[in-house]
Symmetry: C2
Subunit: 649 residues, 2 copies
């Protein structure tokens, strides 16, 4: 065989191995799906699907690791480069010039090799192990955006915003506390165990291990219809805290670049600046692209072609991620806010078919991505090339995260209770303490860079934390809920109806400002935003009533007319009046069946200008209730309630 043919053979072998690997992973995924179905069918709840994926992944990883020999493929070639040729940076690709081939008529053969990553020295891997070991970027670019976007897109915004203050406290202050506590404990314990682990490494580890996972516990909460406030706490915290942990870890790295040893105020403020900058930038990009999609879907008639509309929606959402990454920001944070914006504005403009399509599409991609990630975590425990196991370090990590979680939840909850009318119960605190599972984000952050010894310790430790928390805490969620006597089977908003504060504030600022409560300043801010949203953002970005012509001052009338579509003026399309937030609540994980009728019940009659404006707001775009704990639900949510509270329209 000629050399050219050898090279083709080699490319073919690599290709076959890759296919076999993907096939194996697909096989496990299929097995997981069938097992999930069996569990759902038999109503078993002791292992959740994420735990299941991980366990199956581990089994396969073990087989691959110990069952395959290292010598079936061409061994890797070691080159000893000298440092001169990359005076500043290592090369991004290597060209292997193989010289002229005597048998063939062609001159030279050059093979190109692309930079894959930094590896442990002298490591020989079997080809299948090599193939199973994906690029960490694969997670960040393909899997995570779907998971996080779906989180934002399907967010129960009503409950989320009702507990906005508490969630922000847990997510921002709580995660920072957790990061510091873990960092501190790890610093102390690594000194004791004499592991090389710099202070910067400690805080970096603290940041990545503080990202809690929204998948497992929430699926169970959703199944059991747990108390909506508890749901909002756990969901909001885990979604936002992923974003916080990512940005925090990047800030710690930034800090490390400016201050190599000891504390430096300059570096500290620079990293603080980077934290704020990344967060604000990502928020801005996400919100901007979300609004842009809303504008496009409002002012073009693309909704006549649902396929094009869905494609547009999908591509815009995905390009948010890439835009943020290309700008050097964090794509995942941007995608989260993009998802929220899309659900809040764009969703109202979509055709009925596209609403369904987008929801189902993201539900499916999210489901597949989630299971794939956990599966991959399982496989990696055995096949990942760069982890370094150290029992003492792993035990220290568990100790650190338990203490950190404790220092996060209880003090903050007690602090929040000082200001809250509706106190956070101690059973909720215990449950939140228990729900601190670690998942995809922590794992992905840890494998992203494994260049140093310290980083490799982090990888193994994070793997164990993910495995143990998902399988054990995930498995014991249901018993824990029973043990803590937390109400399950709560219908949407029944919660709100049972406590005494059912003051109907509608949607307008006037009424809100009449409700004088202790935290007026914050309430005022939120109410301002809410009013702005209802009066300008929603009329501008969606086809909902009221129109800009009704809400803007008389001087801006020509502009307002320009920005109002005919559909909006006619207000005849019933699909546009449906409350998008309720839609989201209904569809989430296909559970709340029986509420499907709400959206038709809450259809408003064609708007007549004799009605007072505040009434119109209440009927129409009711999804923007950006309020707090003491704010109450809107008229049209009550319609379908079962039991004595229901039907008090």
């Amino acid at each position: 065989m000629s050399v050219a043919m050898e090279e083709e053979e080699q490319v073919l072998t690599v290709h076959k191995t890759d296919s076999a690997t993907i096939l194996i992973l697909l096989g496990i995924l299929l097995l997981t799906i069938l097992t999930i179905w069996l569990f759902k069918h038999r109503r078993l709840r002791f292992v959740h699907e994420s735990g299941l994926s991980m366990i199956y992944g581990m089994i396969v990883g073990m087989v691959i690791r110990y069952g395959s020999s290292a010598s079936t493929e061409t061994p890797e070639v070691m080159l000893t480069g000298n440092r001169t040729f990359h005076a500043f940076q290592p090369p991004s690709s290597l060209i292997l010039n193989l010289g002229p081939d005597e048998n063939s008529t062609e001159k030279t053969h050059s093979l190109k090799y692309n930079l894959w990553g930094i590896v442990n020295e002298n490591e020989q891997m079997a080809p299948i192990v090599r193939a199973v070991t994906f690029d960490p970027e694969f997670f960040f670019n393909i899997m995570l955006p779907f998971i996080i976007f779906e989180a934002g897109y399907s967010m129960k915004r009503r409950h989320f915003f009702r507990n906005f203050g508490a969630i922000m406290t847990y997510a921002f202050i709580g995660t920072t506390i957790s990061c510091c506590v873990v960092g501190g404990i790890m610093y102390g314990l690594t000194r004791l165990m004499e592991i090389k682990f710099s202070l910067n490494d400690c805080f970096f580890f603290g940041a990545i291990i503080s990202a809690t996972d929204p998948v497992t516990v929430l699926a169970i909460f959703s199944d059991l219809k747990v108390d909506v406030d508890l749901f909002a706490f756990v969901f909001g915290e885990s979604v936002l805290n992923d974003a916080v942990a990512i940005v925090l870890s990047e800030s710690v790295e930034t800090y490390g670049q400016y201050a190599s040893t000891g504390f430096s105020a300059n570096a500290f403020f620079k990293s603080l600046g980077s934290f704020v900058g990344i967060f604000a930038g990502a928020f801005a990009i996400g919100a901007f692209i979300g609004c842009l999609t809303a504008v496009i879907s409002k002012f073009t008639k693309i909704r006549d072609f649902p396929l094009l509309e869905t494609a547009l929606f999908f591509l815009m959402s995905y390009s948010t991620f890439q835009a943020a990454e290309a700008a050097g920001l964090t794509g995942i944070v941007a995608v989260l806010f993009c998802g929220i914006t899309q659900a809040h504005y764009t969703f109202n403009n979509l055709s009925l078919e596209s609403k369904q399509r987008t929801k189902q599409l993201f539900e499916l991609t999210n489901f597949l991505a989630e299971n794939f990630v956990f599966l991959y975590v399982g496989v990696s425990i055995f096949t990942f090339h760069a982890q370094k196991w150290h029992a003492g370090f792993i035990l220290s990590t568990f100790l650190a995260i338990i203490v950190a979680r404790f220092c996060n939840i209880y003090p903050l909850s007690l602090l929040l209770n000082l200001g809250r009318r509706k106190k956070i119960k101690s059973s909720f605190m215990n449950m939140m303490m228990f729900s601190g599972l670690r998942g995809a984000i922590a794992f992905a952050l840890s494998i992203r860079n494994t260049s140093s010894e310290a980083r490799r310790l982090m990888v193994s430790s994070t793997m164990m934390v993910v495995l143990v928390t998902v399988v054990i805490c995930g498995g014991f969620t249901t018993p824990m809920l029973q043990w803590l006597q937390i109400r399950v089977g709560v219908e949407e908003d029944q919660e709100g109806a049972t406590d005494g504060s059912s003051i109907r504030t509608g949607g307008s600022t006037i009424e809100i400002s009449q409700v004088k409560k202790p935290r007026d300043a914050k309430a005022w801010l939120v109410a301002q935003w809410h009013s702005f949203d209802v009066r300008f953002m929603k009329p501008f970005l969606t086809n909902c009533r009221p129109t800009l012509m009704e809400t803007s001052p008389a001087c801006c009338m020509p502009l307002a007319r320009l920005l109002t579509t005919d559909e909006q003026l006619q207000g005849s399309d019933p699909t546009k009046d449906a409350d998008s937030d309720i839609d989201m609540i209904i569809d989430h994980r296909e559970l709340s069946i029986g509420e499907d009728t709400i959206s038709t019940v809450s259809q408003t009659k064609p708007y007549t200008s004799t009605e007072p404006a505040s009434q119109a707001y209440r009927d129409d775009c009711a999804s923007g209730d950006l309020g707090m704990g003491q704010r109450e639900d809107h008229l049209n949510v009550r319609v379908n309630l079962p039991g004595p509270q229901g039907h008090r329209l």
Copy 2:
């Protein structure tokens, strides 16, 4: 900065460039979608979306090529390997050992580089050009499976099978003729131009350039509701001929490996064997996994959870591709047959929601993949690193494909007309001659391997052929239809109703065998399969009536009972009685609105065992009409016909 940090920086830069690239591509895709919408909105038809994607791609490719400098990223490093270290094969990856870093405490830094491919020597690319130049495997593993699966899944099987013989003739014999004619002409012309191009290269080129593209013309046919038989010819030919061209090109390569110079009978039969083997193997894998999905979806109650069901369906279909590739066969061919099997059997078992979900999902992925492929073809014309331009070669190619298409369509059509009752009109032949567009498959096959000079000539030539045929032939399809006076606006099956041969054969062999026609032998074979399908395959694999208990001999009763589900016995679920083929016809490209009611009209009454079996077959799973030109449609298709032929139930 320490070395570790430099490496991190480098990884980060690569990452940012990648993101920027993806963002650019997403941007063009979005622009294409908006332009498509505008064209559809304004009812312009002179440029089709695939041509549009390609033109936009070319513009961007040009900007990237000439607008970016080659020196912003670390240059590639050239290594001169000596041939001893890879005695048999080139290494699959290189490890660059950078030696100890003086500033850091760690021992060594090793960078890993993975084999990317064979490149042109001494080529410097700007980083953005490098990033835009995707791996050809990306097409084969990610894009093409979706396009081809959708083709199989949404195939109008009724019309396809009615013209089965003709389609197979065009696809198999026609493509082989085309391959030989192109090969011969290119051999002659390259000798004249003194280009180094071996005989084997000629036939390889003939094979890859013979793959016609089903995308552009069919979208227009579909829009205009062109004559169903013509649609079936063009669709069937282009879908199957992709498969034939792929396998053919692989066979030619196999031939080349065994016979380095001149003709060798041994090598010829080996490559013929490889052709048959690959085709049969791929068919077997595709059909098997399709049937397996049908069995799973029938015997588990997974349809209670549409999300899981859709995920299962999706993963099974995708794993077909990987299974075939891992087995060394052709994934695309397997996926095509898997799609057909899924549509024929599994589709009947899905829940109503999953039917919708899967159709919409594959429609979307197909749409995105198609546009992306054409976009990428456009970009590659400027950025692909390995093409070699030669005007004479390109002109020869155009001459060769025109002659080859001529030798394919006209002789075969005339030959077919000898045996056909319903002759292929000359206007149809002219239109088929004109519809020989080249697209994604030809392009992907050509860039898959660019190791030799000859291959690089093929790449540039294929690019030009794809560009010219898609933009020009695609753009002139509508005028051409008018010019050839081919009927458009034909309703489904109106065609069948207007010709005289409306003998209702139902589904059973007895009736078919009574229809004595010239081609009895073939009719008998097809009828045998049809009978087997209706009596055993459908009852076993789907929830359709009749059940196996009704069709199998008495001795197999216990087994038959075991393989019959309760749903099937009750036959109460209306969704299962709907004719899946009609569903497919309706949904294809969202066009044939107004026929939606067929599926409910054709619902059968609950089966009572007093009815004769043949009657039951006719009512129930009528989609399996695996007949030829003279076979007629089933009872339940007629229901909805407009005009005097309609309503003769």
